[in-house]
C-alpha cells in the first residue's frame, strides 16, 4: 500500500488547510467560508481515518522509518479530528475569531497527527513545532493585553522548552548514532550518562507540552489569556499530542530500561495529580480552574506511561477521550456565557441552574466526568488507570490517583454550587448567546461522555487494538 493511501487523513487535513487559505483570499473579511472548509476537512479526515481503520492494515513504516502508521496513530487521528472539529465549531463566530483561525487550528492538528505517527527524532521535533507555532499565534489572537501576554508567555516558555528538547534529542543522537526510536534500546548500554542526560532533557521538553509539574506554570496564564475555543484546543489537542508521543518514544526507544524513567514519571505523576487538583480548588476563574484541573489530568495520564505496561498504555489512550469530551463540552458552555467577551468566573455561573436548566444539566455532566463519577466516561477512564497502577504493583500511584480525584471533586463542586445559588448578580448571564455550532459540540460531548460511561466496550476495543503497538518494537 502506498504512502499516499495510508496517510490519507494527514493529506486530507493538509489539503483542507491549503484550500482554506485560498478561501480566505477569495472571501470577504469575517466570512464563515474558511470555517466551513475547515469543518468539512475534519469530517473528511474522520472519514479517511475510519476507512483506514476498517481495513485492518498492518503497521507501515514510511519515509525511511520516520513515520509509523498503525492503529495507534489512527486512534490519535480520531482524537485530533474531534479536537480540531470542535475547536472550529466553538470559534465559529467569524466576527470574533480571525479568518485564519481554522487554518491555524488545522495546522496545529497536523502537528498532533505527526506526533501520533512519529517514530524518529526528526518527526518528533517537527511534530512538536508544527503543533506549537500555530498555537502561539492563536493564543495571542485576541488583541487585548491578556491575549498578548498569553501569546508571548507561551512563546517564550515554549521556545525555552523546545531548546531543551532539541538538546536532549541531540544528545540521544550523539549517544546512539541513530535517529530511529527502535535503535536506541540496542545501540548502547542504557546506563550511558549521555543517553541518560539526553533522555532526561527530551522528557522535560515533552512533559512541558503535557503540563507536568514543575513544567506547568505557563498553563493557567496561557489558558486565561487565550480565546475560549483556543483554550479548549490546547486543553484537549496538545495533551493528546504530547501524551501519545511520550508513550511511543519511551515504549519504542527505552523499553529495555524502564527503571530509568518509570519511577521518575511515577513521582512526577504523583506530584502533578496532587498539585494540579489542589491548586484547582482555589481558582475562581473558570479557565484557570480548567487549566489547573488539566494539569491534574495530565498527572493521571502520566500514570499510564509510568507503569510501563500494555494495560497502562490502554488506560492512558482511553482516558484521553472522556477527558477531551468533557473539556469541549465544558468550554462550549463557557463560550455561551462569555460570548467571547470576558473571562468567566464562578460568579458568572450563579443562577444558571434556574435560568438555563438544560445548560446547567449538561455542565453538571461534564463536571462529574472530570471528577470521575460513575456513569460518566471519566469514571471508566480513572478506573482503568487505577487498575493499571495496581497491576503494576504501584499502590503509591493508585493512592495518588484517589487523592487527586478527591481534591478534584472539591474543585469541580464549587462551580456547581454557584450554579444552584438563587441570588445571582446582575451581570451573570448577561451576554448569554447560543448558536448551532456550540449545540453540535455540546451534543457530541454529552453523548460521548454518557456513552463512554454506560457502554465503553467499542472504544475499549479500539483502544486495545491501538495499544498493540506496544509489542511491536
Amino acid at each position: 500500500m502506498s504512502a499516499t493511501s495510508t496517510m490519507l487523513p494527514e493529506y486530507v487535513i493538509l489539503g483542507t488547510l491549503l484550500i482554506a487559505m485560498l478561501g480566505i483570499m477569495v472571501s470577504r473579511a469575517h466570512s464563515t467560508l474558511p470555517s466551513w472548509i475547515g469543518l468539512l476537512g475534519t469530517i473528511g479526515g474522520l472519514w479517511a481515518t475510519a476507512d483506514l481503520w476498517s481495513r485492518h492494515l498492518k503497521p507501515v513504516l514510511l519515509f525511511n522509518q520516520s513515520l509509523s502508521v498503525d492503529n495507534y496513530s489512527l486512534f490519535v487521528d480520531f482524537l485530533v479530528m474531534i479536537a480540531a472539529g470542535s475547536t472550529i465549531l466553538l470559534g465559529w463566530q467569524g466576527e470574533r475569531e480571525h479568518d485564519e483561525f481554522p487554518v491555524l487550528v488545522l495546522l496545529s492538528a497536523l502537528g498532533m497527527m505527526t506526533l501520533g505517527m512519529s517514530a524518529n527524532l526528526i518527526t518528533l521535533f517537527l511534530g512538536v513545532e508544527i503543533l506549537s507555532l500555530p498555537l502561539y499565534i492563536l493564543a495571542a489572537s485576541h488583541r487585548d493585553p491578556l491575549g498578548g501576554e498569553a501569546g508571548l508567555k507561551y512563546f517564550l516558555l515554549g521556545a525555552f522548552s523546545s531548546g531543551i528538547l532539541l538538546f536532549g534529542l541531540a544528545l540521544i543522537y550523539g549517544a546512539t548514532g541513530s535517529m530511529t526510536f527502535t535503535d536506541f534500546a540496542t545501540a548502547v548500554s542504557s546506563n550511558s550518562p549521555i543517553l541518560a542526560a539526553g533522555l532526561m532533557l527530551a522528557l522535560v521538553g515533552i512533559l512541558f507540552k503535557l503540563a507536568i509539574v514543575p513544567f506547568h506554570m505557563w498553563v493557567p496564564d496561557v489558558y486565561e489569556g487565550s480565546p475560549d475555543a483556543v483554550t479548549s484546543f490546547m486543553a484537549f489537542g496538545t495533551k493528546v499530542g504530547a501524551a501519545v508521543i511520550l508513550l511511543r518514544f519511551l515504549a519504542y526507544g527505552f523499553y529495555l530500561s524502564p527503571d530509568a524513567w518509570g519511577p521518575l514519571l511515577g513521582y512526577l505523576a504523583l506530584l502533578t495529580m496532587i498539585v494540579g487538583n489542589l491548586v484547582a480548588l482555589t481558582q475562581t476563574n473558570l479557565k484557570r480552574l480548567f487549566g489547573y484541573s488539566g494539569i491534574g489530568h495530565a498527572g493521571f495520564l502520566l500514570i499510564g506511561v509510568a507503569v510501563h505496561s500494555v494495560v497502562g498504555a490502554r488506560a492512558m489512550l482511553f482516558y484521553l477521550l472522556p477527558y477531551g469530551l468533557a473539556v469541549i463540552g465544558a468550554f462550549a458552555i463557557i463560550t455561551m456565557i462569555s460570548n467571547g467577551e470576558k473571562n468567566v468566573t464562578i460568579h458568572d455561573l450563579e443562577g444558571l441552574a434556574h435560568k438555563k436548566p438544560w445548560a446547567a444539566a449538561l455542565f453538571i455532566v461534564f463536571m462529574l466526568s472530570f471528577a470521575g463519577i460513575p456513569l460518566t466516561g471519566g469514571f471508566i477512564g480513572k478506573f482503568y488507570l487505577l487498575q493499571a497502577a495496581l497491576f503494576a504493583h504501584q499502590p503509591g500511584l493508585a493512592v495518588g490517583l484517589v487523592v487527586g480525584t478527591f481534591l478534584g471533586l472539591g474543585a469541580y463542586l464549587r462551580p456547581l454550587q454557584a450554579m444552584f445559588r438563587h441570588e445571582s448578580n446582575e451581570q451573570a448571564l448577561a451576554g448569554w448567546n447560543v448558536n448551532w455550532a456550540q449545540i453540535v459540540v455540546l451534543v457530541v460531548a454529552v453523548v460521548g461522555t454518557i456513552g463512554l460511561g454506560v457502554y465503553p466496550t467499542p472504544v475499549v476495543h479500539m483502544v486495545n487494538q491501538s495499544a498493540n503497538f506496544f509489542w511491536l518494537h
Binding site: 501576554e149 516558555l157 522548552s161 514543575p214 530509568a260
Partner: protein, 621 residues
C-alpha cells in the same frame, strides 16, 4: 493474614478518625471509640494467638507481606509482618493492658478540654507499638520504632502549656533519636552484608556463622537503640522526666509499650546475641547496674510518680539482665508480669493524684486507705508483686531471672540483682506506707479525697487480679515461648529454671527484711518523707547519682557549643547562597518582559525541574 493487618490498623484508624472528626464528636465519644478499637484489636489478637498455637512447633510463626510499601519506586520494600509466640505475647500485653489504660483514661481525662487529641495520640501510640512488634523485618521495625518515639513525644508534651513537659518531651525525643540512629546503622550494616533485613532471612544466615567483630558491632548498634527505648545507661535519663505527661500515659509508656521495645528487640535478636557474646554480657551487666542504680535513686524521691519511674528503670534492668545472660523466657516473663503490676501502680498512683486534685508529693499524702479502699488493696497487690514476695506475680518472674543468672555463671550480677530486689521492697513499701497509711499530712487534701469513679477502679482491680495471680502463668509462658527460642541457634537456656533454693531464700529474705525496715520507719516511727535526704549519700541518690548533671556537662554543653559554631557557619553559608540567589534573581528581572509577568519564575521552575531530574539521573547512572 488479614487479622494481623487489622490488629495494627484499627488503632491507626481510631487515631485518624478522632483526629479528623474531633470537632464533630460528642464529648465522650473519643474515649469510648478509642477504647473500643483497641479492645477489638485485643480480641483479634487473641484469635490470632489461638491460630498460632495450632501450628506445628517447628513452624510456629505466621508471616507474609501485607502491603508492598514501595515497589517500582526504587528497591521494593514490603510491610512484612511476623507473628510468632514472642511477638504474640507482646501483642496480647500491648492490646490488653493498653485497652485497660484506655478505659481508665476515660475517667482520668474526664475534665480535660483536649481529651479528643489525647485519645487520638493514645491510639496512635498503640498503633506504632503494634507496628514495631509485628514487623517482619528490621526496616519496618525501625519505622514503628521511630513512630513510637514520635507518639511518646506528643504524649509526654501533651500539656504543652507547661515548660517542664515540653522540656521532658524534647529530652525523650532526642535520646530516642540517638537510639533510632543506632538501629539504622545496625540494620544498614546487616543489609549491606547480607542483602536482607527480614528476621527469617537473617537468622537463617546467622545459624551458620561464628562470632566475630562484625557481629559485635552490629549487635552493639542495635543495642544502642534498645538502650534508648528501654532506658538503659547512659540513655536512661528521659524516662524519669517522661512522667510529665498525663499519668495513664506513663502507665502506657512504662508498662505496656515503648520501654519494653528494647527488651523485645534484644529477645528477638537472640541469634545475633549468640554471635556477639561481649555485647550480650554488656546487656546483662548494664541491666544489673540499672537495677541497683535506679533502686537506690528511688529511695529518697518524694514525688510518687518519680519513685515509680525509677522503679521502671530498675525493673527494665532485670529484663535486660535476663535477656543478656540468655534467660530469654525469664526476661520476657518478667516483662509480662511487670506490665501488669507497673500498669496497676501507675493507674493507682493516677487515682491518688486524681483524688488529691493533682498533688504528686508524698509529703502531703497519707492515710488514704480509708478513703480509697479499692485502690489501696489493688496497689498493695502490685507492691507485693514488684517486691518479689511470694506468691505474687513478680516473685516468680524475678526469681526466674535471678535464678538463671546464677545458674549460668554470673554470681556477681546475681548479687547485684538480689540486693536491688531488697531495695525495691524497701522503697516500694515506703511509697505505699507514706501514701496510704499513717496520719494524713495534709488535712484539707485528705478531706476532699475520694475513691475514683468505677471506670477507673475497674481496670485497676482487673490488673490487681493479674498482678496477684499472674505468676501461675509461668509454665504456660515457658511452653508458649519454647518454639520461638528453638527455631534458631542461640538460646539453649531460654526456658525458665529456678536457681538453688538458698538463692531464693536469700532474695526473698532481703525483701522481707526491707519490708520490716520500711514498716518500722514509716509506720512505727512515722519518719518524715524527706528524712535523711539532705545527708551526703541521700542527696547523691536523690539526684540519681548526678547523672543528669554529668550528661549536661559531657554532652549538652559541648553540643550546644558545636551547634552555635555550626549556626554561625550556616549563617555565613546562607549569606553566600542569598547572594547567589540575588544574582540569579537579577538575571530573572532582566528576563521579565511583561508588566504582570512571572515568566522568569516559570522558567526558573522549569530549570529547577531540569536540575532535579538531572540530579536524579546522576544518582542512578
Amino acid at each position: 493474614m488479614q487479622g494481623v493487618a487489622e490488629i495494627v490498623l484499627l488503632p491507626l484508624f481510631g487515631a485518624i478518625t478522632i483526629g479528623m472528626f474531633k470537632g464533630l464528636m460528642p464529648k465522650k465519644l473519643p474515649g469510648i471509640w478509642a477504647s473500643l478499637l483497641v479492645g477489638i484489636s485485643f480480641l483479634i489478637s487473641i484469635a490470632e494467638a489461638l491460630k498460632l498455637s495450632r501450628l506445628p512447633v517447628h513452624h510456629r510463626f505466621l508471616t507474609g507481606a501485607v502491603f508492598p510499601l514501595i515497589t517500582g519506586f526504587g528497591p521494593a520494600i514490603h510491610w512484612r509482618y511476623y507473628l510468632d509466640p514472642l511477638s504474640g505475647l507482646w501483642l496480647l500485653v500491648i492490646t490488653g493492658v493498653g485497652m485497660l489504660i484506655h478505659v481508665y483514661s476515660i475517667g482520668y481525662m474526664h475534665d480535660d478540654p483536649h481529651k479528643a487529641r489525647y485519645f487520638s495520640y493514645l491510639n496512635f501510640f498503640v498503633f506504632a507499638m503494634l507496628l514495631l512488634v509485628l514487623a517482619g523485618n528490621l526496616l519496618i521495625l525501625l519505622i514503628g520504632w521511630a513512630l513510637v518515639g514520635l507518639a511518646s513525644y506528643l504524649l509526654i508534651g501533651f500539656w504543652y502549656q507547661r515548660p517542664s513537659a515540653v522540656r521532658a518531651a524534647k529530652k525523650a525525643f532526642v535520646m530516642n533519636t540517638v537510639g533510632d540512629v543506632g538501629i539504622l546503622l545496625g540494620l544498614t550494616l546487616l543489609y549491606v552484608h547480607y542483602h536482607t533485613v527480614s528476621y527469617p532471612g537473617l537468622f537463617r544466615i546467622f545459624d551458620h556463622q561464628t562470632p566475630s567483630a562484625f557481629f559485635e558491632w552490629t549487635a552493639f548498634l542495635l543495642y544502642v537503640g534498645a538502650m534508648a527505648k528501654s532506658a538503659q545507661f547512659p540513655l536512661h535519663m528521659w524516662l524519669v522526666d517522661a512522667m510529665e505527661g498525663p499519668t495513664p500515659v506513663s502507665a502506657l509508656i512504662h508498662a505496656a509499650t515503648m520501654v519494653t521495645a528494647g527488651v523485645y528487640l534484644m529477645a528477638r535478636l537472640y541469634p545475633l546475641l549468640r554471635l556477639a557474646p561481649d555485647v550480650a554480657y554488656l546487656v546483662a551487666a548494664i541491666g544489673a547496674f540499672m537495677t541497683i542504680f535506679a533502686a537506690s535513686s528511688a529511695i529518697f524521691q518524694r514525688d510518687i510518680k518519680k519513685v515509680l519511674a525509677f522503679s521502671t528503670v530498675s525493673q527494665l534492668g532485670y529484663m535486660m539482665l535476663g535477656v543478656g545472660v540468655g534467660a530469654f523466657s525469664a526476661g520476657v516473663f518478667h516483662f509480662m508480669m511487670h506490665a501488669f503490676f507497673k500498669a496497676l501502680l501507675f493507674l493507682g498512683a493516677g487515682s491518688v493524684i486524681h483524688a488529691l486534685s493533682g498533688e504528686q508529693d508524698m509529703n502531703r499524702m497519707g492515710g488514704l486507705w480509708r478513703k480509697m479502699p479499692w485502690t489501696t488493696w489493688s496497689f498493695l497487690a502490685a507492691t507485693l508483686a514488684i517486691s518479689g514476695i511470694p506468691p505474687f506475680s513478680g516473685y516468680f518472674s524475678k526469681e526466674a531471672v535471678l535464678g538463671e543468672t546464677y545458674n549460668l555463671g554470673h554470681p556477681i550480677l546475681w548479687v547485684v540483682g538480689a540486693v536491688a530486689a531488697g531495695l525495691t521492697s524497701f522503697y516500694m513499701f515506703r511509697l505505699f506506707f507514706l501514701t496510704f497509711f499513717g496520719k494524713p499530712r495534709d488535712a484539707s487534701l485528705y478531706e476532699h479525697a475520694h475513691e475514683a469513679p468505677w471506670i477507673m477502679t475497674v481496670p485497676v482491680v482487673i490488673l490487681g487480679v493479674f498482678a496477684t495471680f499472674g505468676g501461675f502463668l509461668k509454665n504456660w509462658v515457658n511452653q508458649w515461648l519454647a518454639p520461638t527460642f528453638s527455631l534458631y541457634r542461640g538460646a539453649p537456656h531460654a526456658a525458665m529454671e529456678s536457681g538453688p533454693i538458698w538463692t531464693t531464700i536469700f532474695t526473698v529474705g532481703l525483701a522481707v527484711i526491707a519490708f520490716f525496715i520500711a514498716y518500722a520507719l514509716y509506720i512505727r516511727k512515722s519518719t518524715a518523707t524527706n528524712a535523711a535526704s539532705e545527708s551526703g549519700p541521700g542527696r547523691w541518690m536523690y539526684r540519681a547519682w548526678y547523672m543528669d548533671t554529668v550528661w549536661t556537662y559531657l554532652a549538652v554543653v559541648p553540643f550546644q557549643k558545636i551547634g552555635n559554631a555550626v549556626m554561625q557557619a550556616e549563617t555565613g553559608i546562607l549569606a553566600t547562597v542569598k547572594g547567589i540567589g540575588t544574582v540569579v534573581w537579577d538575571w530573572g528581572e532582566d528576563l521579565r518582559p511583561l508588566e504582570t509577568g512571572y515568566v522568569r519564575r516559570y522558567a526558573l521552575s522549569m530549570m529547577v525541574g531540569v536540575g532535579a531530574l538531572l540530579v536524579y539521573y546522576l544518582i542512578r547512572v
